[in-house]
Amino acid sequence: MKKFVIHGILGLLLVFFFDLGIGRVLEYYYFKQESGFQHRTTISMDETNADILVFGSSRANHHYNPDVFINSLNKTFYNTGRDGNFIFYQTAVLKSILRRYKPKLILYDFSGKFSYVQEDYDRLSSLLPYYRKHREIRDIVNLRSSFEPLKNLSSIYPYNSTLANIVIGNSNLGKKGKKGYVSLMGEWNEPLNEHKSIDKYEVDENKLAIFNEFLDLCKRNDIPLLVFVSPVFYTYDKDYSITLCKQICNEKNIPFYDFTKDERFLKSPQLFDDKEHLNDSGAKLYSKITLNIIRQQLNMSNLINEEF
C-alpha cells in the first residue's frame, strides 16, 4: 500500500506539472490569437470600448453591419455576437464589459429558447478561458456544474477542445470580422416554408433569471437598450420564446422590435444565407432599418443630444 501511495503521489505530481506546463502554453497562445471567434470573444471581454455594442448569437453576429452604424451615427461600434451562444454567454460578456466601462447603447438580438436545453449549459465552455481572471462571470459559468471551481484548478481544462482553433487563430486563418461582424456571402434559394408553432412551454428559471439580469444591468447602468428579433426566412404562427421576451421587455419598458414577420424579408430569399441568417446584403438592409429605429428611439429619449 505504501509503495502504491508513493507512486500515486509521484504520478499525480507528474500530471500536475504537465497540466500546468501545457495549460500555460495554451493560455499564452489562446490570448495571442489575431483572428477567429475566440479572438473576438477576447476583444469583447477585455478590449472593446465601443459606444454601441451588439449582443446575441450567430444571428446578431451576422446581421448588424458596423459600417452602417459607424458612418451614420459617427460612433464606435462592436458586435459581440457569437455563434451558438445565447443568454448565458451574452450576460457574462456584458458583466465583464461593465467592469471596464459603460457603453452608450446596446442592441440585443434575441434568439434561442427559454426552455431547458442542456447544450446551452455545455456551451458555457466558451467562457472557461476567462474564468480565472473574470470573477464576475463565475456565477454564470458555474451553472454548468457545481464542480466547475474544482475543475478549473486544472490549467488545461479551460482550453479543452480549443487546440485546433488556437492554431488557426494564431496562423491568421480564422475569420477576422469587421468590428466583430462576420458577413455571410451565400444566397438562399429554397422556397418559403412554414415552421411549427412553439406553444407555451416550461421555462428554465436560470435562463429567465439571467435574461432579466441582462436587462436590469442595462437599466441600472443607464444604458439605453433596444431588443430586436431579426428576420427569418420562414413563416410561423406562434413562438412562445418571442412572446415571453416581448412580455418581459414590455414590463420593463424596454423597446422591443420583432422582424420575423417582416414582408420585406419574407419576400426576399436573396437576402438570406440560410433560413435563419441574413447574408451581407440582407445585413446591410436590416442594419439600415434598425438604424432608423435607433434614431427615433434616441430622439424620443433625448439621448441623441446628450450622449450622442
Binding site: 500500500m1 509503495k3 502504491f4 507512486h7 509521484l10 504520478g11 507528474l14 500530471v15 504537465f18 497540466d19 501545457i22 495554451l26 442542456q118 449549459y121 455545455d122 465552455s125 456544474s145 464542480f147 474544482l150 475543475k151 486544472s154 488545461i156 481544462y157 482550453y159 479543452n160 477542445s161 487546440l163 485546433a164 482553433n165 488557426i168
Partner: protein, 473 residues
C-alpha cells in the same frame, strides 16, 4: 452516477480508502451501501427494483437448493424467471409490444388498444436482471450452491462497478470473491488504474467525440451524401466500441483496485477475421450468457444443421431485443444471426488467427469483409427508426455528393482519437509480448504514457458527453 462524472472521481477514491481502512468483516456491508448509493444517485426509487430482483432470486435459489423434487425445483425457477422477466418486460418492452401488436391489429381492421405506460427505463435493468436470473439457473442446474448470506448475495447483484452496464458476471466467478479476505495488491491496483485511464480515454476522447459527428449525420440522414453516411457509420462503429469497451475497462479497473477480478468483456473486436470471431471478442459476458442459457439449451450445434441455424437465429434475435425495444435492434440481431448462418453454410469462417502471429494478406481481406458486414448491421443499431435505416442504405448506394465535415476541429480530433486507439489496439493485438508504453519495463516511460493519456483527456475529451450508450439497455 456516471463513471465519467466529476462526482465519481470523488466517490471512487473515497470508497477505496474507506474500504481498505475498515475491518474486513464490515467490507461487504460497506460495498453494498456504496453500490446502492451509486445507483440511487440516479433515480432513488428504482433501487426498489434491484432489491426486488435480489430478494426474489435469493429466495427462489434457497428453495431450489432445499428441495430434492425436480418438479418443485422447476416451479421455483419458473417463479424467479417469471417475476424478473415480467419486471423487465413491463419497464422495457411493454410499450413496444403494445404498439406493435395493436398497430398490426389496427392495420387488419381490428380496433383494440391498451394504454402505454409513461415509465422511465431503469438504468442497467437488463444487466442486473440477467446476472440475477443467471444465478438462479446455475443453482437450478446444480452448477453452484445457493448463497445463504443475503447481504453477500445482494452485493453480487448490485456491485457498483458492473451494476449498470456489466460485464454480466457469473455467480461462480464473482460470489466467492466477496468472501475472500482482500489484501491490497500493488500489481492488481496498478493494472486497475491503467485500465481505468484507458477506459476514460476510450469514452471521453474517442466515443463522445465521435458522437458529435455521428449524431449530426444520423439525426438527419435524408440531408447527407453517400460518403458522409459511410464515414458516419464507420465513426459509429468506433463510437459504440469505445463507449462500451471504455465502460467495461473502467468497471474492471475499479473492481481490480478493490481486489476483485471481473471477466474480460472486449478483445479488440475489429481485428476479428469473421463474424463468429467478432462475437467471441465483443461483449463477451453477454455473448457467453446467451450461449450458456439460451443457445445450448435450445440444442446448440449438437443438432442437425437446420435446427442449428434456427438456434443461432433465435439467439441473435433475442440478443437484438435485449439491446432495445425497437424493430431496429431486432433486425440488427437478425442480421448478425444471418451472417453466422451464411458463413456456416458456405463454410468460409476462417479460424481465429493466433494472437501475436504476424498477419498476412488473407487476414486483411477477412478483417475488411468482417468490418464491412458489422458496420452494415450497425446502421440498424444506430438509426432512429427503420425508415431512417432504409433511407441511409438507399442514400449510401445512390446519392453521391461531398463530405460533410461539420465542426472541422472536432472532425480532426475524431481522426486523431481513432488513430491513437488503433495504434494501441494494434500493438496489443500483434505484439502482445512487447512491453511498450503502459507496460514498458521503464517506469519513466510508463509514467509518461499515463501522463500523456491524461493530458489528452483534459485537452481533447468531451466533458459534456453524458451517458454511456449501454446504460439504456
Amino acid at each position: 452516477m456516471l463513471f465519467n462524472s466529476f462526482e465519481f472521481l470523488l466517490f471512487f477514491p473515497l470508497v477505496c480508502i474507506v474500504y481498505y481502512i475498515i475491518p474486513i468483516k464490515l467490507r461487504w456491508a460497506f460495498l453494498l451501501l456504496s453500490s446502492y448509493y451509486f445507483y440511487m444517485n440516479w433515480q432513488p426509487i428504482y433501487a426498489v427494483l434491484i432489491f426486488t430482483s435480489t430478494l426474489v432470486t435469493y429466495l427462489c435459489a434457497l428453495k431450489i437448493d432445499a428441495t430434492q423434487i425436480k418438479r418443485r425445483k422447476k416451479t421455483y425457477l419458473t417463479l424467479s424467471l417469471f417475476i424478473n422477466l415480467s419486471i423487465l418486460f413491463l419497464f422495457k418492452y411493454y410499450n413496444f409490444f403494445n404498439s406493435s401488436i395493436f398497430g398490426l391489429l389496427n392495420d387488419l381492421g381490428i380496433r383494440m388498444s391498451l394504454p402505454n405506460f409513461d415509465l422511465l427505463l431503469p438504468v442497467g435493468i437488463s444487466f442486473y436482471t440477467f446476472q440475477a436470473v443467471g444465478y438462479t439457473i446455475d443453482v437450478y442446474r446444480g452448477d453452484i450452491k445457493s448463497e445463504k448470506h443475503f447481504g453477500i448475495y445482494a452485493l453480487f447483484v448490485s456491485f457498483f462497478p458492473q451494476l449498470v452496464a456489466g460485464p454480466i458476471e457469473r455467480a461462480v466467478n464473482l460470489l466467492p470473491q466477496f468472501k475472500e479476505t482482500k489484501i491490497f495488491n500493488y500489481e492488481q491496483a496498478s493494472d486497475g488504474i491503467r485500465l481505468m485511464i484507458w477506459g476514460f480515454f476510450m469514452k471521453i476522447v474517442v466515443a463522445d467525440r465521435l458522437a458529435i459527428y455521428v449524431n449530426s449525420v444520423y439525426g438527419v440522414p435524408e440531408y447527407h451524401s453517400s460518403i458522409t453516411l459511410l464515414i458516419g457509420t464507420v465513426f459509429f462503429a468506433f463510437q459504440i466500441y469505445c463507449d462500451f469497451a471504455g465502460y467495461s475497462n473502467i468497471a474492471i479497473g475499479c473492481a481490480k483496485i478493490l481486489g476483485f477480478d471481473l471477466m474480460t468483456n472486449f478483445k479488440r473486436p475489429y481485428f476479428a477475421q469473421s463474424c463468429a470471431e467478432f462475437w467471441s471478442r465483443w461483449h463477451i459476458s453477454l455473448s457467453t450468457w446467451f450461449k450458456d442459457y439460451l443457445y445450448i439449451p435450445l440444442g446448440g450445434n449438437r443438432v442437425g444443421a437446420v435446427k442449428n441455424y434456427r438456434n443461432l437465429l433465435i439467439t441473435f434475435l433475442v440478443s437484438g431485443l435485449w439491446h432495445g425495444a425497437n424493430w431496429t435492434y431486432v433486425i440488427w440481431g437478425g442480421l448478425n444471426g444471418f451472417y453466422q448462418i451464411i458463413f456456416k453454410i458456405l463454410d468460409v469462417s476462417p479460424k481465429s488467427r493466433k494472437i501475436g502471429v504476424p498477419f498476412k494478406f488473407n487476414y486483411l481481406v477477412n478483417l475488411t469483409i468482417t468490418f464491412v458486414l458489422i458496420c452494415f448491421s450497425w446502421i440498424f443499431f444506430r438509426a432512429n427508426s427503420l425508415y431512417d435505416a432504409i433511407t441511409i442504405i438507399e442514400r449510401i448506394i445512390t446519392v453521391s455528393g461531398s463530405l460533410f465535415i461539420g465542426d472541422k476541429s472536432s472532425f480532426a480530433y475524431s481522426i486523431f482519437a481513432i488513430s491513437l486507439l488503433l495504434i494501441k489496439d494494434a500493438v496489443d493485438e500483434f505484439y502482445p509480448d512487447k512491453k511498450m508504453f503502459f507496460t514498458s519495463e521503464y517506469r519513466s516511460v510508463r509514467y509518461l504514457s499515463y501522463t500523456f493519456i491524461i493530458s489528452t483527456i483534459l485537452l481533447l475529451g468531451v466533458f459534456d458527453g453524458g451517458q454511456f450508450i449501454y446504460f439504456q439497455f
